[in-house]
Amino acid sequence: MNKKTNYIVSAALLLGLLVLIFVLEHVLPPTSMLFVVLKKGAIYALVAVSMNLLNGFTGLFSLGQAGFMLLGAYTYGIFTIPVQARASVYQYFDGGIIRFTLPVPVALVLGGVVAAGFAYLIGLPVLRLKSDYLAIATLGFAEIIRAIFQWDALGPVTNGSNLLRKFPTFNSAIFPFVVAGICIAIIALLINSTYGRAFKAIRDDEIAAEAMGINLAKHKMEAFCISSFFAGVGGALLAMFQTTIQASAFKSAMTYEILLIVVIGGIGSITGSVIASFLFIGCSEWWLRFLDMDTYIGSFHVPLLRAGFRKVVFAVVIMAMVLFYRKGIMGDREFSLERIGNFFKNFGRKKTAAAKED
């Protein structure tokens, strides 16, 4: 199966997925948890892939994702609140400084651009640091950004420590799927290009990569900015999903969750990040919710099951994965129709061989 057929079949599958969602939205009640999982899962998938691009494919251990999401979310919110609503949202700041509105697609892209811009500034000093220091420096920057956006002096722009709301949101899960899907496709194209190979070379052996003519500073900056761009878009999508934005929500815990998704899915696998994202969100928002409820079997009160147990189980599972299953679900492989086809072929072959022996 050559590359072109692969592309066409993958595109067809994705289209089929969108149709499926459309159908589900007309069949199931809109409050079904399935839609929460689909929407949030798609958004986190995008951010996880953007983090994987940086950590998994280029080998730059950065923990600043939450900060870039925050930048994207705020940029989107600030520029799309309808002019009439600004007075009530920015009630403590006389309606705020910004008095115009941008269309949603423009604001989404702008969210990414602003995040990438900050990434450029942060990257200049920080990208030459060793991996552990890079992690802490990016974490530190994310915290500084969070503090700045809670600062009341910037209120006329950011609304200080108050919520941003009343900006356009989406209803159908198709919207985040399409946006995230396009972004992830772009990242996949990048990975498969000559630049993607250069990033992987930097991850494998920085010194050898440099000796082969790859300018480390330039390529690391490119990876950093692109990753942050998509984290910003992801943040904007998250804002649309949550319908309110508040800086204090973008704590480092959010970055840790994204990191854990990346690890579960497999560092260096885009499909892994996508799958793991839906699994993670599904478990945390929906399937494992029962762990949080007081449950009775007959009159027997099942011990341990109460609020917060879900997250504990979660954390234990993650530790188990990190310790015993480090490669994650997909390791560093991608989804490949060829491989699935081969799997079934071999399966069939084994069965006929076993049957023959009888």
Binding site: A137, G140, E143, I144, L260, G308, V312, M319
Partner: protein, 294 residues
């Protein structure tokens, strides 16, 4: 004199919290020196120590609760190393850092589960939480005890490192991990000793810290932990005196900033300091340069 009177409470608070950060920072710097690992879970061990004290003191007298808390905290630090870090010693650096983050996540969620998300109130430890007057400021006695106790403990630790066999082993391991093993040093014992000492100091630190800031929540360890780590980096990662100096500087500056009215930025200050030091002198105030061989 006006400035002094107005800011004395903040400066005192700064010295106090600086000492508490120092006790946590030592744990970070020692572990990093030996394992090149940022022990993200260390701040949460500090928080768990606080929670343990809350629960133990509810059913035991303080004279039993305090030592028991220390023993349990040390056991926790030891266990974390054995469970989460030892199996990954030969794995790539990113894996062990992720394990540390995962451990931090687990401890915070366990605490959230056990406390039900409610703010726990630290027990009142007599004598150290008694109010005293210094100049024009009224504060708790713990404010004075902390820097003194910190310096005494640090002094004892430096003595241990420089004049005992286990201390020499620690210094050897932090200089060259593999060669130390080849020379017959029991790596596991050295690493365990490091975590035990670090956890013990964190337990003492928690006792002092939560006597001052009496609310204990699952996220109580995150900020002090991060700040303590910055202090360790600022002072030169691997250097114990450096970590202590860094911690006091951070504690004092942070509180002066609060005194000047910029409370939102008191946390951000610490991170700004981190960035500055990483750019200007990544090896920290007292650190040494490492040259990588190609």
């Amino acid at each position: 004199m006006e400035f002094w009177n107005a800011n004395l409470p903040y400066i005192l608070a700064g010295i106090s919290v600086g000492g508490q950060y120092a006790l946590i920072a030592i744990g970070y710097t020692m572990v990093y020196g030996i394992l090149r690992l940022i022990n993200f879970a260390h701040g949460d061990v500090f928080m768990v120590a606080g929670l343990m004290m809350v629960y133990l003191s509810a059913s035991l007298p303080l004279t039993l609760a305090i030592p028991l808390m220390m023993i349990l905290t040390v056991a926790l630090g030891f266990a974390i190393e054995r469970i989460a870090y030892k199996p990954l010693r030969s794995a790539p650096r990113m894996s062990i850092m992720i394990s540390a983050i995962g451990m931090s996540y687990l401890l915070q969620n366990l605490a959230l589960y056990v406390t039900g998300g409610l703010n726990q109130v630290y027990p009142n430890i007599p004598w150290i939480s008694d109010p005293i007057t210094i100049g024009t400021a009224v504060t708790k006695r713990v404010t004075i005890i902390t820097p003194v106790l910190t310096i005494v403990l640090v002094f004892a630790l430096v003595m241990l490192i420089n004049h005992t066999k286990i201390g020499m082993a620690m210094r050897a391991v932090s200089k060259d991990f593999e060669t130390s093993q080849l020379m017959g040093i029991k790596i596991n014992s050295v690493i365990s000793a490091t975590f035990i000492i670090g956890s013990f100091l964190a337990a003492v630190g928690s006792l002092l810290y939560f006597t001052n800031y009496t609310g204990v929540v699952p996220t109580s360890g995150a900020m002090p932990g991060l700040k303590a780590f910055v202090a360790a980096v600022f002072g030169g990662i691997g250097s114990i005196p450096g970590a202590v100096v860094g911690a006091f500087i951070i504690g004092i500056c942070e509180n002066i900033i609060k005194g000047l009215g910029w409370t939102t930025f008191s946390d951000a200050f610490t991170f700004a300091l981190l960035i500055v030091i990483l750019i200007a002198k990544p090896t920290g105030l007292f650190g040494e340069k490492n040259i990588d061989k190609v």
